[in-house]
């Protein structure tokens, strides 16, 4: 099992899309730092502070908070494309003649997508935070008042974010298994979050504690959201529950489907 996971991780890292997305993220980091540097005013008392890099709670004003949601979309894209590319290239036949245990194959692919995405989340978000640190020091309030709470909160965000990003990659990959292509998976996830949840929010606002978007916000932010009756562990469980259902569906489809 470890060898197939290692192979899938290697394959994931060698994918062109992953490299393009990482390059895109690095360019975005440079762009964000330049903008932050240009906009930060050293003369301002309430200038660019550690809280602008990260502050707990559902606050997309912090750079890491806002960027995390962009990263989650990239995670869904990366995960779904990881599987979708297999179906498009027709390589599953070749792989299954080497490892016929389909559950092992699926588990290895989902684990690889999760591990690569989780690690990339930590690396890229840490890089973004580190790149913004000089802006806080040179043109902002400095880190003197940040205290250990800031670093603990930041570490918590990175940990939770890595898990959520990994989950998003697994979600994208699982839907791609069911739909057999990348576009189907992206369409389902984005269509659900952007259209279905917004319609439901208007029709049934009381259901918001069950919505994907709200629960993602609670888990990523590490704090509850006003009007949503859900704790951080509660939201994590809801997200995990949704993920388990989708992964189980993908497993049933993957094991039973003819590979032609």
């Amino acid at each position: 099992m470890t060898s197939i996971i290692a192979v899938e991780v290697q394959r994931a890292l060698a994918r062109r899309l992953v490299r393009v997305l990482v390059l895109f993220a690095l360019l975005a980091i440079v762009f964000v730092v330049i903008i932050a540097f240009a906009n930060a005013d050293p003369a301002e008392v309430d200038g660019f502070s550690p809280a602008d890099i990260w502050s707990s709670g559902f606050d997309d004003d912090s750079v890491l908070g806002a960027s995390a949601f962009l990263f989650l979309l990239m995670a869904v894209l990366g995960g779904s494309s990881f599987i979708g590319a297999e179906y498009r290239a027709g390589t599953l036949t070749t792989l299954l003649t080497w490892e016929p245990r389909r559950l092992h194959v699926l588990a290895a692919k989902l684990l690889a997508a999760a591990v690569v995405t989780g690690v990339l989340f930590v690396v890229l978000e840490s890089l973004l935070a580190s790149a913004l640190a000089p802006v806080v020091i040179v043109r902002g309030t400095g880190f003197e008042d940040a205290g250990s709470d800031f670093y603990r909160s930041l570490a918590g965000f990175l940990g939770r974010g890595a898990l959520v990003a990994a989950g998003c990659a697994v979600l994208g990959a699982s839907i791609a298994v069911i739909g057999r292509n990348t576009t189907a998976a992206l369409g389902v996830v984005l269509g659900y979050i952007i259209i279905v949840e917004q319609i439901l929010l208007g029709l049934r606002p009381g259901w918001d504690a069950w919505f994907l978007g709200e629960n993602l916000g609670i888990v990523l932010g590490g704090a509850t959201i006003d009007d949503v009756a859900r704790s951080v562990p509660g939201s994590a469980l809801v997200l995990l529950g949704y993920l388990v259902v989708v992964v189980a569906g993908a497993a049933v489809v993957f094991v039973g489907r003819d590979v032609t």
């Binding site: 290692a6 394959r11 036949t93 299954l96 016929p100």
Partner: protein, 300 residues
């Protein structure tokens, strides 16, 4: 114990519109250990579906298969001893042939040296570092063969291995398959190149519309369509033809020879009739029947 056992195998593909399509319909087949077994059939006769069932890629609608004694659910116990290539093998387009093969080989703990050996064996060594997407059909086939061979398997299942190869490549594959079979491995090869199959296989099975039409050693299968005609070369053709017909023999001219409707054991009758008319035979032999003729007779 047979290496491959197929019992009452049936596979029907469901269709959203119309009735299901039956690809394999009650196929029984047994392949013994060692040698090269040819699996023949026209397009759509169920060869690839049968191979996919054997390899656990497709679930049969009925019946069953065993590969080295393992049912599809237990294939993982024997898959390390089986090398296979199904149709035109697909690999990751942006990875080189070598990288694709290395990734697969890692699943079985196979080292780079064996990967290089397999690539050299199929004549792909010089292009091993090129991306798979730049490969011609023939090169893709060669990489698929390398993937099947890199395990040094006891059993090889090859679905149309010569597809897309040029004549030199076809001969290379034929020689390779023959050599592998003579080394004691079992090679199960499907092909539509009947001349090739005739030259490289010890036994063949012919499939038509998902059913087994005939199976056995190549010589026996050829005997199914053994001709009862004699080929006669003699000059002049028109006089010889008239002479044979005058002796109440059924004869006809074809190209530069005469075909006489007589079994080989009655060939003396032809020489006697022609010699009596002072016509002397240059060549007299039973008409040869190749696998293609038998195949077309059995599957039409």
């Amino acid at each position: 114990m047979p290496v491959i056992e197929i019992q009452a195998l049936r596979k029907a593909y469901r269709s959203l519109r119309g009735p299901p399509t039956t690809a394999v319909d009650g196929l029984d087949l047994s392949v013994a250990e060692g040698g090269v077994f040819g699996f023949l059939g026209p397009n759509g006769s169920g060869k690839t579906t049968t191979i996919r069932c054997l390899l656990g890629l497709v679930q049969p609608s009925g019946g069953g298969t065993r590969l080295l004694g393992a049912e599809p659910g237990d294939l993982s116990t024997v898959v390390g001893r089986v090398g296979s290539m199904v149709e035109t093998p697909q690999f990751f387009p942006n990875f080189s042939g070598r990288r694709n093969l290395e990734l697969l080989a890692r699943l079985d703990g196979i080292g780079r040296a064996q990967v290089d050996d397999a690539l050299d064996l199929v004549g792909l060594g010089s292009r091993a570092r090129s991306p798979f997407r730049t490969y011609s059909l023939g090169m893709k086939q060669r990489l698929g063969l390398a993937a099947a061979l890199v395990k040094d398997p006891e059993v090889l299942i090859l679905d149309e291995p010569a597809n897309g190869l040029d004549p030199a490549g076809i001969k290379e594959i034929r020689d390779l398959v023959r050599r592998l079979g003579s080394e004691g491995r079992t090679v199960f090869v499907s092909s539509h190149l009947l001349g090739e199959v005739q030259q490289m296989c010890d036994r063949v099975a012919i499939l038509a519309r998902g059913r087994l039409v005939t199976e056995g050693p190549v010589a026996e299968v050829l005997a199914h369509g053994r001709s009862s005609r004699l080929v006669v070369r003699v000059e002049p053709l028109d006089v010889a033809l008239a002479t044979l017909r005058a002796a109440e023999l059924e004869a006809s001219v074809e190209d530069d020879h005469i075909l006489v409707q007589l079994p080989a054991e009655d060939a003396a009758r032809v020489t006697r009739v022609l010699a009596d008319a002072r016509l002397y035979v240059r060549e007299l032999r039973p008409e040869e029947v190749d696998l293609e003729t038998v195949f077309l007779e059995l599957t039409s």
